[in-house]
């Protein structure tokens, strides 16, 4: 039993945190809101240089050959800065879906390009209403009628749907499956789709941890500076307790996210339950973080001017995508109400 991240993973996290907090500032995010694509090729280039785009690409295809557990702490940092680029989707969802498929041609063509930052891949599942970043994806992996297809950008029609979070770029994607490549059919397709869904949900959960911490940090700073009745409002117990109430569920969501990442990386049989547990708890913490943070900001929190909303809006969006609370609590319910469910002390780590 070793429920800790290793030194390398923690150091990598630290390095990525330093980079992201320096480069992906609220000012930079606001600048990107004003651009057509909302994306920065320069920033993508930097992420590539750090090795991040190729992190889960097997070494044979020019990547680092790492797994979901290696990436989960980095996904947390992506959440902390509300990274607009499709890094989590590419590294955590798209690449492993392709790697897990049996289509060698697709892998040979696309994985090296992803590793070197030359291409991105979007994933569209029927569980998700819309496809994130379909507009800049060179390849789209699309679930349709129980099959999984690979479609190139030129062969899709996109309809933009604006999200509450201006950084998120969402599209209704239409394509003609007779002109698309079949990645997998039947059971294989469903296994790939379920895997993608789990990794997408893990990505949301990990980012939710970072977002919650960011909202706490912003709120602590604000309430330490803002004075009313002659003192900093952060000295008021009612304000303190709002933030403590966010810190508690955040603390208890962290290990669930680590367990979910471990379950995915090691094909643990309880993976669906573990992922849903993590997403439900982490996103619930981030929703409470958003609600309490806006409250302690008072009227300032309701403005476009204060940066808080950048992170609140991402938290609201991530709670609803890659399976909402109803979906994930439903999967947990199915597991724990089953007749043969192993519950209670001593069964947490049973595979």
């Amino acid at each position: 039993m070793d429920f800790t991240f290793n030194e390398d993973q923690l150091l990598f996290q630290e390095g990525v945190r330093d980079f992201l907090t320096n480069e992906v500032t609220p000012e930079k995010i606001r600048e990107l809101w004003e651009t057509d694509s909302g994306r920065s090729p320069a920033l993508w280039g930097q992420l590539t240089e750090l090795g991040l785009t190729g992190l889960t690409v097997p070494e044979a295809f020019g990547g680092m050959g790492m797994n979901e557990l290696d990436f989960v702490l980095l996904a947390q940092e992506c959440g902390y800065v509300a990274l607009p680029e499709p890094l989590v989707q590419t590294v955590l969802v798209a690449v492993p879906t392709l790697v897990n498929s049996s289509n060698e041609d697709l892998k040979a063509k696309w994985l090296p390009q992803v590793a070197e930052g030359a291409a991105t891949i979007a994933v569209g599942l029927e569980q998700n209403l819309l496809v994130e970043d379909a507009h800049i994806a060179d390849l789209l992996l699309m679930e349709k009628n129980g099959n999984l297809y690979a479609v190139e950008q030129a062969d899709v029609t996109l309809e933009y749907n604006q999200s509450v979070d201006p950084s998120r770029k969402l599209y209704q994607v239409s394509f003609d499956e007779s002109r698309a490549m079949v990645v997998a059919e039947g059971d294989e397709a469903q296994a790939l789709v379920n895997g993608a869904l789990n990794r997408g949900a893990l990505g949301c959960a990990a980012q939710a941890l970072g977002l919650t911490q960011r909202m706490i940090d912003i709120s602590v700073q604000y309430t330490s500076e803002r004075t009313q009745f002659g003192v900093a409002i952060g000295t008021f117990q009612a304000v303190k307790h709002r933030m403590a109430n966010v810190a508690v569920p955040l603390e208890y969501a962290k290990a669930t996210v680590a367990q979910a990442a471990y379950a995915i990386a090691n094909n643990v049989s309880s993976v669906d339950k573990n992922v849903s547990h993590a997403k439900s708890m982490a996103c619930a913490a981030s929703l409470l973080g958003a609600k309490n943070s806006i409250q302690v900001h008072g009227a300032m929190g309701y403005t476009w001017e204060v940066n808080l909303h950048i992170y609140m809006k991402r938290a609201w969006a991530l709670d609803k995508t890659w399976g909402d609370q109803a979906f994930h609590k439903g999967r947990v319910a199915e597991a724990i109400f089953a007749d043969d469910a192993l519950l209670g002390a001593g069964n947490t780590f049973v595979r």
């Binding site: 039993m1 070793d2 429920f3 800790t4 991240f5 290793n6 557990l69 706490i216 602590v220 309430t223 330490s224 003192v231 900093a232 952060g234 000295t235 117990q237 304000v239 303190k240 307790h241 933030m243 403590a244 109430n245 810190a247 508690v248 603390e251 208890y252 969501a253 962290k254 290990a255 669930t256 680590a258 367990q259 471990y262 090691n266 643990v268 547990h277 439900s280 708890m281 609590k329 947990v332 319910a333 724990i336 109400f337 469910a341 519950l343 209670g344 002390a345 001593g346 947490t348 780590f349 595979r351």
Partner: protein, 391 residues
């Protein structure tokens, strides 16, 4: 490398615990230790545990323990709760005073006190709270004055809400040795035998009507000076160690809440037809199960970190809030499922086993209060963990 599997040694340890408990846990549940008869039964159980060297698994082997690390301790707790073994009458001694004695006690004190604690000969009560000092422990007023000869302290004052003090043999607590001192200065940690002349123990009935608490009056009680733990005036530091990391982690192991969550799932399934009249109940059961699992995961994660030399930080203050409010919530949900039967005491003819939920519900009301109220814990989290400004 993260590895969420138990080692072969851990599995073997689990089997050993499981086998011993299967052979030794009393078939009939013991009476509550808040009765004289139940207290005696629990003493005997502690003695039996000690004989099997299962009383204090984390203690060194020369003291009758098993040198168990934190993972083994968690495994032991899992098996203990699964086996429905009796609750520990001496938990104040085992989990609070024991570790503190190991750190601050003299060799003589350890030799005299620990073996009797381990076999249940001496059960310990805590003497923290006073009528004017609950969660604000620095407001302690009960005083201890060193005698002219320097052989003993003369103790005067009152302690209250002292859990299990009615039948306990000893109590530990902080007393003000410097009458001029204020707040946390001038306090001394003293171990007081409750049979000394000048001590009066008055039972305080708890919500269930049983004398689970007591108030203790000290009237010129002579306590030998060798019953002081640590130096004079060092009481606050010693008390903080007692309330420190061992307590943050060891006060309530996850197994207890996981077993309650399991029972809650079973209760829901047995009563699903009526429970589903309120769709919120099903949701609450799922959330309670997830929270209990989260508590388990987080505790194992912390234990692994500590074993590797890590430190437990201010984030440990989140523990107390999390488990105490989870315990309350789970029992509230159970009450909702039981509906009209929820108010029945265990001995009511129609209770048919549901009465234990009422017992648990009553006890759960104390969780957010004892060991420092959750309001105090929230202040600690806000100020020390999040860095919000003090007054």
């Amino acid at each position: 490398m993260m590895d969420l599997n138990f080692t072969a040694e851990h599995d073997a340890f689990r089997q050993e615990v499981r086998a011993w408990l299967a052979a030794n846990v009393p078939a009939e549940p013991l009476k509550t230790y808040d009765t004289a008869e139940g207290f005696q039964q629990h003493r005997e159980w502690e003695a039996k545990m000690n004989e099997g060297r299962w009383g204090m698994v984390t203690w060194p082997s020369e003291l009758g323990g098993r040198d168990a690390d934190l993972i083994q301790w968690l495994i032991f707790e899992e098996e203990y709760f699964r086996a429905k073994a009796p609750s520990r009458v001496n938990q104040n001694g085992i989990f609070l005073l024991g570790p503190t004695l190991m750190e601050y006690g003299t060799d003589e004190q350890k030799a005299e006190i620990l073996p009797k604690m381990a076999d249940g000969t001496e059960v310990w009560a805590q003497g923290w709270s006073e009528p004017g000092a609950g969660s604000d422990m620095a407001a302690v007023r009960a005083k201890a004055e060193l005698s002219d000869c320097g052989d003993y302290y003369i103790v005067n004052g009152q302690k209250t809400w002292s859990t299990r003090a009615v039948w306990a043999d000893q109590c530990f607590g902080m007393f003000r040795t410097d009458p001029e001192s204020k707040r946390h200065k001038g306090l001394t940690f003293i171990l007081v035998p409750l049979d000394l002349e000048g001590i009066t123990v008055n039972p305080i009935p708890q919500l269930d009507g049983l004398p689970g608490f007591a108030e203790i009056f000290f009237d010129n009680v002579k306590v030998p000076v060798n019953r002081r733990l640590g130096d004079e005036g060092q009481g606050w530091e010693v008390a903080m160690a007692t309330a420190g990391f061992e307590r943050g982690l060891m006060l309530r192991s996850p197994a207890r809440f996981q077993q309650t969550a399991k029972r809650l799932v079973e209760l829901y399934k047995e009563n699903q037809a009526s429970a589903d009249r309120d769709p919120a109940i099903r949701d609450a059961v799922v959330k309670a199960y997830m929270a209990a699992e989260s508590y388990c995961l987080t505790t194992f994660e912390t234990a692994c970190r500590l074993i590797k030399g890590g430190k437990i930080g201010a984030e440990s203050s989140t523990n107390k809030i999390f488990w105490s409010e989870l315990d309350q919530t789970m029992h509230e949900v159970a009450m909702d499922i039981l509906a009209a039967r929820a108010e029945l005491e265990p001995f009511a003819p129609q209770a048919k086993g549901v009465g234990s939920w009422l017992d648990g519900f009553l006890f759960a009301q104390s969780g957010p209060i004892y060991a420092g109220t959750n309001e105090i814990q929230r202040n600690i989290i806000a100020e020390r963990m999040l860095g919000m400004p003090r007054k």
